[in-house]
């Protein structure tokens, strides 16, 4: 079975500072990896995904993530955050074949401070 661990439930950071949101996964088979963002009172929006190829993935809004197979991690980074980045961020995995299901992490609440 697959599982996703987001180590930090909340991350406060000052505006224009860099941020890293951590995500580790467990799986005995290959997976695809995703990061989603949920702004207050909204649905989830896909930030970026890793399917194959380059391990450094760039997404929307200046976010990027790096897939590290040996450490089973897919940490999300942004070099300079804005107040508007305040949201809940979810890491998710899905199998590369067979089922379409997502397994979500518990989420990290990013709070950007002025």
């Amino acid at each position: 079975a697959q599982s996703v661990t987001q180590l930090d439930s909340q991350v406060p950071v000052f505006e224009e500072a860099p941020v890293e949101l951590r995500c580790n996964y467990s799986s005995s088979v290959s997976v695809y990896l995703f990061w989603y963002v949920q702004y207050p009172n909204q649905g989830l929006q896909l930030l970026l995904k890793y399917l194959s190829g380059s391990t450094l993935v760039k997404g929307i809004n200046g976010f990027e993530a790096e897939f590290n197979k040996s450490q089973t991690s897919f940490h999300l980074r942004k070099p300079s955050v804005h107040i508007s980045d305040t949201a809940e961020y979810f890491c998710a995995v899905s199998l590369t074949s067979g089922t379409y299901k997502y397994i979500f992490g518990t989420g990290t609440r990013l709070k950007v401070l002025a």
Binding site: Y32, F34, Y36, N41, Q42, G43, L44, Q45, L46, K49, L51, S52, F90, S94, T96, Y100, K101, Y102, F104, G105, T106, G107
Partner: protein, 118 residues
């Protein structure tokens, strides 16, 4: 990517009643998914709804409690029946954006229905 309209956005309901949540997509999709997000927790898949067939429920979710309809390729409803305070959650519908030979693109989500049962 697909645009999903989900209604209602929020509701406060009495225990023992039922609420039907609607999800409308601006394009035809084969599979639609319903998720529950309990307070402070992650998303849990309730069921998958294919047009023209019975929904497939995940472990811990049953049709009597969460009946789903999928009358066409752009619409689905989820009903939360005989509600109790434990059903207070955000309910989201989702569709798959697309599929390539190497994997799916990801999923688009509706804005959610915030349900409070009193």
């Amino acid at each position: 990517s697909a645009v999903i309209s989900q209604k209602p956005s929020r509701d406060i309901c009495q225990r023992g009643t039922s609420l039907t949540i609607q999800c409308q997509v601006d394009s035809q999709v084969t599979m639609m998914f319903w998720y529950r997000q309990q307070p402070g927790q992650s998303l849990t898949l309730i069921a998958t709804a294919n047009q023209g067939s019975e929904a497939t429920y995940e472990s811990g979710f049953v049709i009597d409690k969460f009946p789903i309809s999928r009358p066409n390729l752009t619409f689905s409803t989820l009903t939360v029946s005989n509600m109790s305070p434990e059903d207070s959650s955000i309910y989201l519908c989702s569709v798959e954006e697309g599929w390539t030979g190497i994997g799916n693109y990801g999923y688009t989500f509706g804005s959610g229905t915030r349900l409070t049962v009193v």
